[in-house]
Amino acid sequence: VIFPLKFIEFEGKDHLFWVGNTAEVLAEIKSFIMETRSTKKPVAGLETVLSAKINPSNKSISRYDMICHLARQHNGKIKHYNDQGFSVIFKGPGKAVNCALELTEKIQSLRQKVSSCIHMHEGTINNDGSSPDKCNSIAERILSQSYPGQILITQTIKHLLSGVALNLTKHNTIFDSLTIDSCTLYQVSIDNNSTLAKSFETKLPPPITFLERVLQSIKKHLDNESFGVEILSRETGVSERQLQRKIKGMTNKSPNQLINSVRLNKAKELLMLQKFTVAEIAFKTGFSSPSYFSKCFKKEFGISPTSLL
């Protein structure tokens, strides 16, 4: 289902909507309300997933009870549980982080170790209204890089946690297939001396990782038709063969597939703005012909670009 997005610019300088050209503003609001009907089809919202890896234990029953209890306390729902790990779904990152902090402490008090990660994804709903059990590859990839006792969060989670008194330190960077972009991971720990003011101190920018360099290079050459593995290899300073291997390892895509994905996602963003034609967007995103662009777009998103206009 594609949801309409309308962007209206008014002349004027007022930030308050109730002064200035109020009649025009109201007319737009009214017609939007009248035109828009709420969808009957169930739509799943954004979910925060806490995934954890635990050492196998023969006390799994009491541990299960404890995890259920903690999840409930923070309004979470257990999605999956076995002896090696579990995942819990929340409607917000703050609840998930609080649950993870408590959990880490409790499990440590049992002299066991847990490593957990928190990320966000778009929920999905089956035709019968239930939500499918998704294999969560991003969580698995994050957990494979974590140490026992660690809580790792994605940058999306970090951005939404502003105001929470926690220490967040940069861990490393992985590829996020949801946003087709690099995703920096942060390690969470409780900041006992935190004051709000402290979190506003200017920090030095973290060093740029290899993946970030790759994505920067792809974005820089967005409209360059002849951009490919050769230029990418030159700009990132690694051989083409190494590039293939590294990109595949991080994103599960070949360099050309990654370039295409980044371009098509940008094209989708531009289409949603309703400002350009399909042909203009094709050229802006480095496709030599609109028909080839449409073919790739359909393959990536399952819909034709014209259906977004």
Partner: protein, 273 residues
């Protein structure tokens, strides 16, 4: 039915006040003379009380999510705002509320996250018995409502934002947001001139800069909305708002309204969505 004519002083007399006069442009209200200011009620969000009001007769529900600081009682003291709200009330049952830490809601909050503010919308909708509503978010209220729409699409008919921002801090990939130096000036203003007549609120409503009655109301609205330290906390929180990553996950019809010359929020901020 007749075009209403009254003035601000009568608005403030009692709950059974009459609506405002001095309409500008073609925005006039044709309805009964008496308009009762809605009663204020409280919804529980966790253990906090969130003040809300319900008015209007439209067939669908609309939740208005104010930006920065607000006071749902003192909104009704501004004829321009009253006129706007009453127009909305013809098309929707409108639910107004003050977020935690501001206005008539519990003030004993050190600071709140975007997520907690999002839960306030949930609490108010529950208390007002609204299953699904149009969200109308202004400025930072637009960022909160965007997060709500992405998280709870089942409770949202559509999303309307005015003067919204996705991020409030300059970076290379978001160059239209204020720099730290620019934000520092806002902090200094709050620290030294909060609620005073010279708090430079003209930038929020330049077309009203020469209307002393309006500017005086706006300064008092800030005072009624938050204490100086609460305003400071909120402003610092807003500096840290960043919802860019979730913009693409909003699955409800969306209308983004922005003014080209808005110096508080630049047009590109809305376009980012």
């Amino acid at each position: 039915m007749r075009t209403l004519t009254n003035n601000i002083s009568s608005l403030l007399v009692s709950d059974g006040f009459k609506a405002a006069r001095n309409y500008v442009g073609d925005l006039t209200i044709q309805e009964e003379e008496d308009f009762k200011k809605p009663i204020t009620q409280y919804a529980k969000s966790g253990n906090l009380n969130i003040a809300y009001q319900v008015f209007g007769s439209g067939p669908i529900d609309m939740v208005y999510i104010p930006g920065w600081v607000s006071n749902i009682d003192w909104m009704w003291a501004c004829p321009e705002l009253v006129r706007f709200l009453r127009e909305l009330g013809k098309h929707a049952r409108v639910i107004l509320f003050d977020k935690r830490g501001t206005g008539l809601s519990d003030r004993a909050v050190k600071f709140s996250t975007l997520e907690e503010r999002m839960e306030d919308i949930h609490a108010v909708m529950g208390a007002a018995n609204s299953q699904k509503a149009v969200l109308f978010g202004h400025s930072e209220g637009g960022s909160v409502s965007t997060l709500f729409a992405a998280t709870y699409p089942e409770h949202v008919i559509s999303l309307i934002t005015f003067g919204v921002f996705a991020k409030r801090r300059y970076s290379q990939d978001y160059p239209w947001a204020p720099t730290d130096e620019e934000r520092q000036k806002v902090y200094d203003m709050i620290e030294h001139r909060w609620g005073c007549e010279n708090m430079e609120l003209e930038c929020l409503a330049p077309s009203k800069a020469d209307d002393p009655e309006f500017m005086s109301w706006l300064a008092s609205y800030c005072r009624y909305g938050a204490s100086p330290s609460a305003a400071m906390e909120l402003t610092k929180m807003n500096t840290e708002v960043n919802i860019i990553d979730i913009l693409g996950t909003v699955k409800v019809p969306t209308l983004i309204l922005q003014r080209t010359g808005d110096i508080d929020v630049k047009i590109e901020e809305g376009q980012k969505r």
